[in-house]
């Protein structure tokens, strides 16, 4: 009987050990996956920062979108990641000018009423899965400006510009949003850009 009890005790311990080990493995995997996801988002952000100016430069009415001070106001929109938004702002300001027009970067939250107070020339989404993305997109369309997000999937939600990452990194445009926004991008730019929804190119 003792032996049997011992066996049962050992069996239970083993079961618990197994369960705990599996939970631990799952947590570690989830953590690693989260880190991977963060790293990937950061990479997308940097790639997007490289391409965003080309979107602004491709906008044929960009010169008309200066504010009263003669600056191109760019919104860096985030929800709760001001640190990343700050990095984005710094990187963008390195470029200083688009087609000779100085840039001014404004960091705003997606739920901030200030978002709608100024006259921006473009919007850069600096955080993935933005809760109020739809409102931002709608605003971009109303103002006929580029709404750019480097994060995968946002272009399907209506963002006008994004990046298509395969073996190379290409600008990606949402043709529907471009039409709705009455945005007029340079044909040369559109030739190289990837399109959403995808169209057969002859």
């Amino acid at each position: 009987m003792h032996l049997i009890k011992g066996k049962i005790a050992i069996g239970k311990t083993s079961t618990w050990l197994c369960i705990c080990s599996m939970l631990l493995i799952c947590l570690v995997k989830a953590s690693v996956a989260g880190q991977d996801q963060d790293t990937h988002s950061a990479r997308l952000l940097h790639a997007g920062l490289d391409l965003f100016p080309s979107f602004l430069a491709a906008d044929q009415q960009i010169a008309d979108k200066q504010d009263n001070d003669g600056n191109l106001v760019i919104y860096i929109v985030h929800h709760n990641d001001s640190r990343t938004a700050q990095i984005v702002a710094t990187r963008l300001l390195d470029i200083k000018k688009i087609k000779g027009v100085p840039m001014k970067v404004v960091i705003v939250r997606d739920d901030d009423d200030d978002l709608y107070s100024l006259q921006p020339a473009g919007i850069f989404i600096a955080q993935p899965h933005l809760p109020h993305l739809a409102a931002v997109v709608k605003y971009g369309k109303q103002k006929s400006i580029i709404t750019f997000s480097p994060f995968a999937g946002d272009v399907t939600l209506g963002v006008a510009g994004s990046i298509a990452v395969t073996a190379r990194i290409l600008p990606q445009v949402n043709t529907t949003t471009l039409a709705d926004s009455k945005l007029d991008l340079k044909p040369f730019f559109l030739r190289i850009a990837s399109r959403y929804p995808e169209v057969e190119l002859n």
Partner: protein
């Protein structure tokens, strides 16, 4: 043989089908491999090659973008050309061929500070074949604006080598598959051939067994557990006079005189005892006659031990039984013949003894007649002496006949004039018939050919016929009295149609009914009153007739009379 041939045909057909299946299988596999190559692997290889090409070209394009964006640098065009030349220098290590065969620039002169189309260089092969052309966007390293597009025509030799390698591997794999299929096909064919041989051996063995069983002169019947006929061999059906279809499904007892066999309690008893051994059964044939069979039966059990049927084997013993009966008849005849022989010997002895007193009576009578003649005595005594002499002569004739009849029978068949034994036999009866007022009419053709027979046996036949005829007419005379003329007609003549001699004894006596007529030749069957007949007469006649190779036909009508007719073949002339 036909079944064997059809079996082999089936075997060939099976082999053909197997071969066809293997050919189809090989074709499907080859088709699948080719399809996989054409629609999956090759496009994927090309897509991957394109992806790698794009990635490499993107990296190389940065150098070009840098040179294009350097608006203030001196000799920008020359630097750009050098950069492009440098890119064109890169080679594929395996084939030592240029990785990029051609580079063509297409710049946006709204962004690039240069005269229109002044920097749209194109370097490399003018007609780059077997290339993949990848457009790469050139962005300004400083302003990040799109400067233009660089079209890289990259060599597909890398992918070609890879394709060739994969194609070779696939070809080898497909060849291996075909080889394996051929090996499997050969193995199956070999097994099929061996199986066919076994099957043909089995079929031959089965055919031999079936033929052996079919040739057995035994009944073989398989019954269902309820006693219905499930299978029957042709011999069984043949001896019963049915065809197989008429028998199958019917209960066995329907064909048996013993109708309770394999029914009710008998079936239960059979199941309990599990077999039935050497039981004589009587099958009723289709024509109503009987077939005697020595019958054995055994239960058939299935692999689980359940009662599954009954297998019956029967031996036709009708001929055996008939032979037994004939032997018994012969034995009876022999006993009778023995008695007759003893009686004959005794009669011969008596005749011999009577000859002496008759001889003395005859001598005395002759002396008296001489005496009366000498004395011219015509008194009644003289007439009586003549009567004595006549009766003595008659008695002497009778005794001579009896001695002749009683002589030892050698049984030898010899050509003879049949009228001699006929007259000898008739001599016994003429006087008797006369005294009894019975009409004996003789219609005897004397000009007849010889027949091969035994005289004494023929006499015996005639005596038997006449004795029976006398009894038949006498009995009818006794019952009918006055108006009836008892008549017996003896005929001996030759049939014109088949040249056979016919001996007939016809009477208008009491006759026989149908049953009596059927059985009249059976030993010990008699219609006479008790003590007046042994029932052996006609049976002996029947035996004698058969023995001498003659044919006996009996006809009778109750109350009208009977006729006994013997057909005898004449001795061939020459």
């Amino acid at each position: 043989m036909n079944s064997l041939r059809s079996f082999f045909n089936r075997s060939d057909s099976y082999h053909g089908r197997i071969t066809l299946i293997f050919i189809l299988l090989a074709a499907i596999l080859e088709g699948a491999l080719v399809s996989y190559w054409l629609f999956a692997l090759e496009p994927r290889l090309r897509a991957e090659a394109s992806a790698y090409s794009q990635a490499l070209s993107t990296a190389q394009a940065q150098i070009l973008a840098f040179e294009i964006a350097d608006e203030h640098g001196r000799q920008r065009e020359e630097k750009l050309n050098l950069a492009m030349d440098k890119i064109l220098l890169f080679r594929v290590p395996q084939s030592d061929k240029p990785f990029t065969k051609k580079i063509r620039l297409e710049l946006d002169y709204d962004v690039v500070d240069a005269p229109d189309r002044s920097l749209d260089f194109s370097l490399g092969d003018d007609d780059p074949s077997y290339c993949i052309t990848v457009p790469i966007a050139l962005f300004s390293p400083t302003s990040r604006e799109l400067l233009g597009i660089a079209h890289f025509s990259n060599n597909l030799d890398v992918i070609e080598n890879l394709e060739s390698e994969v194609r070779t591997k696939l070809t080898l794999a497909s060849a291996l598959i075909i080889l394996l299929l051929i090996v499997v096909w050969l193995t199956i064919s070999s097994l099929n051939a061996r199986l066919s041989n076994y099957a043909s051996d089995l079929a031959r063995a089965r055919e031999i067994t079936n033929k052996t069983i079919a040739s057995l002169q035994d009944a073989r019947i398989i019954l269902t557990p309820t006693g219905n006929i499930a299978e029957i061999n042709p011999y069984s059906a043949h001896i019963l006079g049915y065809n197989e279809k008429e028998i199958l499904g019917r209960h066995l007892s329907e064909f048996l005189k013993e109708s309770k066999l394999f029914r009710g309690k008998h079936l239960e008893t059979f199941i309990a005892e599990k077999s039935l051994a050497n039981t004589e059964l009587h099958f009723v044939n289709k024509d109503g006659s009987l077939t005697d069979m020595m019958f054995s039966a055994a239960m058939v059990l299935d692999p689980e031990g359940n009662f599954n049927g009954i297998i019956c084997i029967g031996k036709d013993i009708t001929a055996l039984n008939e032979a037994k009966r004939e032997i018994e008849d012969k034995q009876t005849q022999m006993i009778h013949a023995g008695r007759l022989s003893a009686l004959g010997e005794m009669a011969t002895g008596i005749a011999h003894e009577l000859n002496q007193p008759l001889y003395i009576i005859r001598l005395a009578a002759d002396s008296l007649r001489d005496y009366f003649t000498r004395n011219a005595n015509e008194a009644i005594e003289a007439t009586d002496v003549n009567k004595i002499i006549g009766q003595v002569e008659r008695a002497t004739t009778i005794i001579t006949n009896m001695r002749s009849f009683g002589r030892a029978d050698t049984g030898k068949m010899e050509p003879l004039n049949i009228t001699n034994p006929l007259h000898l036999a008739l001599s016994f009866f003429r006087e008797q018939f006369k005294k009894s007022n019975l009409v004996l009419r003789e219609e005897i053709d004397t000009n007849l050919p010889l027949i091969k027979a035994n005289a004494q046996k023929f006499e015996q036949i005639v005596i038997n016929f006449l004795s029976n005829a006398r009894y038949a007419v006498s009995t009818r005379q006794e019952s009918e009295g006055g108006g009836y003329i008892p008549t017996v007609v003896i005929r001996l003549y030759q049939d014109e149609s088949d040249r056979r001699l016919i001996f007939e004894v016809e009477d208008n006596g009491i006759g026989m009914n149908a049953q009596e007529l059927d059985r009249c030749l059976e030993p010990f069957f008699t219609s006479k009153e008790v003590g007046r007949g042994t029932g052996l007469g006609l049976s002996i006649v029947h035996g004698l007739v058969k023995e001498m190779g003659m044919e006996l036909v009996v006809g009778s009508s109750l109350g009208k009379g009977s006729i006994f007719r013997i057909f005898m073949a004449p001795v061939a002339e020459g």
